[in-house]
Assembly symmetry: D2
Homo-oligomer: 349 residues x 4
């Protein structure tokens, strides 16, 4: 009953097999291996983006921070929601890699609206040397509350951003889950909706540690390569990053894993709906559930070894007090585990 | 006939097996998995350093830059040789991670002497607010020319550094090769010789991508953890770093691989000694050979598909002109390949 | 009728005279001149802080950014209000000088409360390596809306900060105006209220360009000196900074100027109260007025050459529409100018 | 007898008068005052550069560091001599303001040659992502040893730099002294010789604290303005910087002061030539003398209150030991002081 994070599950056997397959003989280092050519070719095809500049790095924070720094100047402010991972969970990595850019928080929830974005951008007066200059917009897809932006919602946001000359970045650690939820194509959910660069996550969805950075316009390619090296993310034995991505792309594993994770999440949410005191805090659209449960139910679950994020003290006088939680399903969670969790929550186990 | 770099060879099967073994079920993320406890325990034992703070990162540049930044202030100058990797091959990563520290070049070769170091440190006047302040000393072991510092040589250098209050760091991408060459213990070649922190390389010597950072004095532990996260080197599915190191440490694979690589290098150097026009530029003590060969011999080798670093133009009028080269043996190079290389160089093939 | 900013007025003749007096013969450079000893001595006496480390820099942004960087680590977040100058008017200078620290915005107005501060600090979980670490608190006194914190209010805030181990900084570009408004001593409004460091402004209140940085605990002194030099704020002919401060401190000019500016502001506010459509947006406690006026009144004032910050378009269909404004009185503004302004606003001129 | 530094002398009365003249009434702040228009106009005329972008900052370190950062990327290496002020005397300010660029040291003396520069630039392989990328070239004029580059020497160096696409910067803290020494025009010694940007010093040559930054190609203007603000060097009461420069330019004071300083230096060198044991270490072409004197002569001078930089211990057994020294003449030093110094050195006083 492991719902703590999609970072806690294993890598998919097909990814591991691809890594093993790559482990033969000598290969050029630093991304010059033929396998990376294959990655580039496949991702360009998948995204219908024959000109895209494509790179691999090993962590989501690296993907975001290096990409944003390439799109930014240190005297600018980036725009993101207050719940975005780059603001809440990266210990100032964006500020570090950009050389001191500011993050301006847009709106109050996990999804920003065009009105929110307009207001935030207008908050920094154009052409005034005293203020932070307007910089890139960063969206999270799927969001940090498990929601998705539709292509139409993205287009509306990128229209605003582009009207100010600002590029748009997607933190796509769970981009595959968004695709799985929306049923649209990768192109529809990225450049066709005006997205300039995408961090396409692999780690949370079945890989060991690999994220693809995709610049749909390759003009920043060389700068990114320099920033990647200087940022200590250019891997010498790069073939193992490439191999993971090869395994991830083959047979649409990236999509199948995401569909599985989303379906399991829906199954879990559905099962929990009848549990006493269970209240959804957000509509689960991808692979995360944010909800409330009574303390006594949490105690039962945790006693049974269930693992998930609990926000609030497990110990307390009031057994009926509602405490919020996050439940994440990765591609490897089984229906049995979910059903067991629901049974325990229901008091039936 | 692959002598281009120890970055081009495969990972050892035992390392890969350890990674596969780790790929089961759910595990805590970000280094909290039990496997990392095991890594910590084994490295402390290997280094006879029960208090050491130990971390894993994925690239040598990350290991060096994060460690040096933890030991430094941005208004200081680090001290390293002009041939050190941190100066010549990291695209300003040390300057970036330290927030703008300077690198002062010590001496003129790959090994610094106490006199060189003293002169360099004295070059920056103590207590003068106008000048770069004296900072950490960085040594490379084995060096960038394939040499090793003996424990005595290290002690002499750390004595100088410590007399000025400066900590000493080792870039140990090829530390195992130095151990194999010298036959001393890891402790003798590190803290017992006054070394404060060591980057203990795995990638070049049989792993996919893992380097251990060892602070023999744990006082900087928490700062390093923050710098690692902010520097985008804290891996979510950290178990795969841990597993590599587990496989690398088991049965002294780290040492066996290094011994093999060094022995192959000696075999190659020995074979080449009789080749017409072959001149060693440096005494090969670890797994690198720097030497000259006539252009026509280079042409023969390259025509036969040999891969190595050639410094100078392969095309040229004078077939007898001497051009320098670097030959690196990794753990996986075979005696057959070496012998074939020598035969071709000798004109016997 | 110049109410645009206290940056637009002249320096006080006594300050200029002190500068002229200092312009004789040779003097040690870089703050080693005897005049700086005198500054240090006088400021320590004024603040009843015999141990304080005291430095001069030339701009308010430099004073704030250098001081905050000395109190911070680059992986921390500073805490300030959304209206604070360091957030709204310094083009990422704090982020730059700190090496990439974040600014967390506390509350929603120009004055933070202990509850606001507690909530903001608690928003960053202690000991979690993924999040920005808790850092220094920065208060502005007088605030960016012309308000003042009382000693009691400061003590309540510093108690919260210190309970978390966080130092407290004051951006005191208008600290003198706060002293003049409150009638308390400099010590009461700084270290006695728990303030750790103060930027004591001179520029806006009668100097050319000088700000004193006061560390009540001198433990950071040498680090600040290095940061000042590296930050390009160590003046070679430092005597001219010292001389300004000497002229500013003599005969309590700093206080007299502030009293004058505050009194003029009160006179202006009082005069405007009867003007049709005039609405105070904030209680003017120091030397700034934030208020509304009808568009037609603005037009009359601007046609007459009055200078001040108008927020909103002067041109517009509705002459009665209320547009907000900022009026600042510096020490040199005359009662005549103020009365003329009021007469024009009243339609009597 | 003050020969310690041109930073120790007073400002010229004409500069002070201009500052006093500017101290009347209200003026726009932050460089928008009419006086700055006048500065811009006069400097463009003086340099025959009608398109130049021109800014004022307050310290030489700020001028250099901000200008170099505008010309550079943080993954580049700048090129300068090992004696350059930006390397030896700015406590990593260039590294800080550039975001971590490296300084590569060119040649071994205070003047670099085209061959030195070519060798240094070629040392960093083009297009290799692993190495520091080639960046701006920084020259010092007059140099840190009191020498000057002729227009021909500059052209030869800028030709090399431009052949690699690298911009050339001049640290011109003593640029006026070079003009005075060479008798050529400011244009001949800057853009006509291929210089891209010049820091035109005022502080050392009769001002309080002002340096002009001149971009002969204005394409970097807005970026520089942002960097200046973010670097805390945009002065609110900017009029006092402008006024100094106005006073400095009027009646060619900048040139007259430099001529005086150079002439005094020549007079001093001439007088010293007959002093027992006096050995010039470098040909004094501007306003600095580097020379040796016996210890006993130093003792006599210092006993008499002479102030200058002495390199080596005044106390010592051997009264005849030669110790080196630096003597600097500013515009205000008198012939009497010089003659007195020479008399004491000669043992005639």
């Amino acid at each position: 009953m492991f719902f703590a994070s999609d970072n806690c599950g294993p890598a998919h056997p097909a990814v591991m097999q691809a890594v093993m397959d790559a482990n033969t003989g000598y290969q050029p280092s630093y991304g010059d291996e033929p396998l990376m050519d294959e990655v580039r070719s496949q991702l360009r095809k998948l995204f219908e983006a024959p000109e895209a500049a494509i790179y691999l790095v090993a962590t989501g924070t690296a993907a975001n921070a290096l990409t944003l720094s390439t799109l930014s100047q240190p005297w600018q402010t980036l725009f993101c929601t207050p719940l975005s991972h780059i603001h809440t969970d990266e210990c100032n990595a964006p500020e570090f890699f950009t050389g001191g850019a500011k993050l301006s928080l847009v709106g109050t929830s996990d999804k920003m609206t065009p009105a929110d974005l307009t207001q935030a951008v207008e908050g920094w007066v154009l052409g005034d040397v005293h203020v932070s200059q307007r910089g890139a917009v960063s969206l999270t897809q799927a969001t940090d509350k498990g929601h998705v932006y539709t292509p139409g919602e993205l287009s509306a946001l990128t229209s605003v951003a582009h009207s100010y000359g600002l590029p748009v970045h997607i933190d796509g650690a769970r981009f595959s889950n968004a695709i799985a939820a929306l049923g649209c194509s990768p192109a529809e959910l990225s450049w066709k909706a005006g997205i300039d660069t995408l961090c396409f996550g692999g780690t949370k969805n079945g890989c060991m540690s690999v994220e693809a950075v995709i610049f749909f316009d390759p003009k920043h390619a060389w700068e990114f390569e320099l920033r990647r090296k200087r940022g200590a993310q250019l891997f010498s034995k790069h073939r193992y990053l490439s191999a993971q991505m090869i395994g991830y792309l083959a047979n649409d594993l990236w999509l199948e894993n995401a569909k599985t994770a989303n379906a399991r999440t829906a199954h879990l949410a559905n099962g929990m709906r009848v549990v006493h005191g269970f209240e959804l805090l957000a509509d689960p659209q991808a692979n995360e559930i944010f909800a409330n449960l009574p303390r006594c139910t949490h105690q039962r679950l945790q006693d049974a070894g269930a693992q998930y994020s609990l926000f609030g003290p497990l110990q307390g006088d009031n057994p009926d007090e509602s405490l919020s939680m996050r439940l994440v399903c990765d591609w490897s969670i089984t229906v049995d585990q979910i059903d067991q969790f629901v049974r325990i929550a229901s008091g039936k186990d």
